[in-house]
Amino acid sequence: MMHRMQVDSPEERRRARLQAESMAAESLVRLLCIVSVLRTALTRLLPLAGSAFWWVTLLCLLPGVLVYLLLAGAMSLTGAPTLTEMLRRCLGAAGSWMGAILLPLLLLADGAASFTALITLFTEGIGTRGTQLTLAILTGAVLCFCLNREGLPRAVHLLRWLLLAAALMWGASCLGAIRMDGLQPVLGGGQEEIIDAVRAGWSLGWPLALLLINEKPESRRPVQSLVGIAGAVLIVLLLVCLTNPHELLTGVHGLPDGLMLPVQYSSNGIRMLGYCLLMLTFFLAIGASAQLAGDFACRGRAVCWPAFGALLLLTASQALHPHRLWALLGQIERWLLLPLSIVALACLMIAMGRRLRK
């Protein structure tokens, strides 16, 4: 581990610091990926796919993995260390602007979905007193203290063991309720429901592309993050399926029900722990969306207002009727991967063309 190495010279110290910051930045993106994928899986795919939900989610992750690989291929061909640099090298100024507009828009859509999920969890799930807007303003105000280009990734990096411990406690509490027939029937409700679920969720892997926005630490291979995220998601999906039969999974109606299902039948203590875990991860993911959207929008310049602007937009989105907003976001979320796929293909072709010409 680089950050634990004995460092002597200023150069080594600087490199170690950069590596540590890179790891913290990656922690933030990984958290955002896991929250985004699980949120879409639990709220959009679960009621449709039922017992097939675990493998349908993995299937829906594949287009995202493919786009990730295309972008990584283009980065490798151009020798660019980051996604935005690759866009600039492949598409010139247009690519630079594309990164500054497209990625913030995607992050804002994802952030709005997470924000709606969190606020609806408060208002309709846990039953916290307060209206949607007042709770959104409160959450936004608290998030204002957390938005910081360096501070937020560090906070996520420091909290990762706490989050993991809470998740492990939930996982351990599920072990006694595991029934292997939870995976049956393999096709869930049937072919039509599976197709509907795939249509609703084929874009859910789009945040994987964000894994390419930071320079990778020397000790970490690109595929490691991908495997880690897929592994964490798979474990959660399997635990949900193995502890709840299809009949219960498809009976989930409404946004908070899907999010609360993993802890719905747990003991009071574990349920409370699960709610805290949900709240904290959503809170950090919303912060990550706003921060990254702001960072992309200001194209690397050291100004903080775009992140606060993004947070303001996300908070303001909660003024809309939650169910209508959620339905609208559902339609948008279906197409989040499409612009990224087009950009990835274009960049790869341009990079390959340049390589062939050389």
Partner: protein
């Protein structure tokens, strides 16, 4: 300082947003729900906060279960909380009228409902049963009920019927509920109530029959087992239930028991137990009660829920051909 502020604010989010401290809540230990002549009644047994070690019953009535629960909340001296609930009792007439899932779905909407609460059925008047719920040992009713339930489960005269388990059975298994009745002026727990495929509470099982069912479910592994010929002492029991494939028309139960110093011969134990189990299994089948959870094996033969419904499992279960073999060592 800034980090400290962030942690403090995150801590605020993690903290409960509860409006009332715990000492200002009435924690129900038992909740009874019954329906008589179209009117729902909900009873709750809560501690008497004026006299230590004593309990009081509060009740609410309404045209619907939701209305009865709302009336119950209103009649409680403090805000009613179900986070310490040990027993959720369904009145006998309610059990035989509508699927228990209807009532449970409504109950489930309460976020404070304790999922480890035991689901019981009674055919005695709910008010009398509630009043009879008093601590048999110590001063806490919750502890007393915990001990009583754990003892009966260990004996095999009661099956674990936790709310969280029952709610998660789906269409694959029928729940077997705890039987509550009055023994003199004391509330007693022993035996079981069977639920059919439609979720309707049908028949009661005696304590001996429940012991057999507990043995078949693999929950009773050791202890005393009462047979018509006498009592045997089990030291170990291995039970395997297998559904025939692909016909799904017959099922075989293979049981291997270890018995300690029985006065009855092994052949007699084997024959008597096989006969008793077969009678019980046929009774369960005819009623459409899949207490053993054979549906969990059967659903593996369906690739989708559509196919599963085409298989018509409840009908197949009613016509199930059972065979039981008992080996005694």
């Amino acid at each position: 300082m800034r980090r400290l502020m962030i942690v403090a604010l995150l801590g605020l989010l993690c903290a409960g947003c509860t409006a009332l401290p715990a000492e200002e809540r009435a924690f129900a230990v038992a909740l009874g729900v019954s329906r008589e002549a179209g009117e729902w009644t909900a009873h709750a047994r809560i501690p008497n906060y004026q006299k230590a070690g004593e309990y009081q019953t509060v009740q609410g009535t309404g045209d619907t279960l939701e209305a009865a629960l709302a009336a119950l909340d209103a009649s409680a001296p403090m805000q009613l909380h179900l986070g310490q609930l040990r027993l959720l009792i369904l009145g006998g007439t309610l059990g035989g009228q509508a699927p228990i899932s209807d009532a449970l779905t409504i109950m489930q909407q309460r976020q404070d409902l304790r999922q480890e609460a035991c689901l019981a059925v009674t055919d005695v008047p709910m008010e009398a049963l509630m009043e009879a719920l008093r601590p048999a040992a110590g001063t806490r009713l919750s502890k007393s009920l915990d001990v009583m339930l754990a003892t009966r489960v260990e004996e095999g005269t009661v099956l674990t019927a936790m709310l969280s388990e029952i709610l998660r059975m789906g269409e694959r298994q029928s729940p077997v509920l705890v039987r509550m009745y009055m023994d003199g002026d004391q509330a007693a727990i022993s035996g079981a109530w069977l639920v059919d495929a439609g979720g309707i509470v049908r028949e009661a099982l005696s304590a001996q029959e429940t012991q057999l069912l507990s043995l078949l479910l693999g929950q009773l592994r050791s202890g005393t087992l009462t047979l018509p010929e006498g009592v045997i002492r089990l030291t170990d029991a291995q039970v395997q239930t297998e559904l025939s494939t692909p016909t799904l028309q017959s099922a075989a139960v293979r049981m291997v028991l270890r018995v300690n110093g029985a006065a009855i011969s092994r052949e007699v134990i084997s024959a008597s137990l096989a006969r008793a189990c077969l009678t019980l299994l046929n009774r369960l089948s005819v009623m459409g009660c899949d207490a053993l959870g054979l549906g969990r094996q059967a659903i593996a033969h369906a690739d989708s829920m559509e196919h599963w419904h085409e298989l018509n499992w409840p009908k197949r279960l009613r016509e199930m051909d059972w065979s039981v073999s008992v080996g005694v060592e």
